[in-house]
Symmetry: C2
Subunit: 154 residues, 2 copies
Amino acid sequence: MTFDDAEILGRVASTLRRADLALLAAKEPALRKVGVSGSLYAVLANLGVKPGLTGAELARLTGVTPQAIAPLVGKLIERGLIERRAHPRHANIQELHLTESGRRETARADRIMLHLDTHIRDSLGDQEYRQLRVLLDRVITSLPGWVPPPDGSS
Amino acid sequence: MTFDDAEILGRVASTLRRADLALLAAKEPALRKVGVSGSLYAVLANLGVKPGLTGAELARLTGVTPQAIAPLVGKLIERGLIERRAHPRHANIQELHLTESGRRETARADRIMLHLDTHIRDSLGDQEYRQLRVLLDRVITSLPGWVPPPDGSS
DNA sequence: GACAGGGTATCAAGAGCTTGATGTGACGCA
DNA sequence: TGCGTCACATCAAGCTCTTGATACCCTGTC
């Protein structure tokens, strides 16, 4: 509560982690009610914005390995929510597209996520909501530039 | 639809997730150099601030289940970094404490995390760093109050 | 003193993701 | 034209965390 224990628990790194966990705990059960997990929603949402993505591109966007994407894509195809199409140049690569029913399911799940985001914006206020986004973006872009200290075993 | 920049990728929920992933990608390799994973560090750091925590309390603080804590505690005991002590009232409960060498290892890992946090604060500026912390905390406290929409199948 | 209730610890089974390694097809360059 | 390089996809093994279920101990109530 005070700033005495700010030494560790109050750092941005720690607070950011807790915020993400709280977000996960809120959205996962809500999404499961419409039949998708958080990972599946991430795939659907990205395909909704950028149709024709490949598995590898999807992996980079969602921050996981390409191997983790394969089972997700398999499930979604099995349920008829997305489909593979041959890439015009690479015979080996498959473009992924939402089907019509996939678009409907994505819209249903997206409505929930929009509702959650609206709740956050209402809690923070419009201006601070925007600032939070800006600050987070600056954190994201600044992190790759960090080099760990030279193992100061001292 | 109405919010051009709210197009999924710009929402706080999505940005927050990417920020946490970027943070994870930065800190995990750095911590591994001193021999601990992110989860192990979380246990050590919490025990450093609040000695005598039980496994269940530790689980709540780090946001995982008690079952996930057990293997972590086992590893740390095996390496001599922490130790169990009998709880004064409950024979069944074990308090966890850092050993002397555990304190040293925690300090080494913590130096890295402090360095990372300092990098973020330098990138953002002192005032905005503080504000980011405040905004994240408000997100954390506001999230449990969210109730999902009543599955409006439209 | 007996009993229900809450909290802790632990076992078992399952899902999800990661690292490691392999095969294939497209592109740049001599 | 032939070769080296790179990106995509996929198989296999291992680790970590999760959900589900069980047993134990303390505390409050009758």
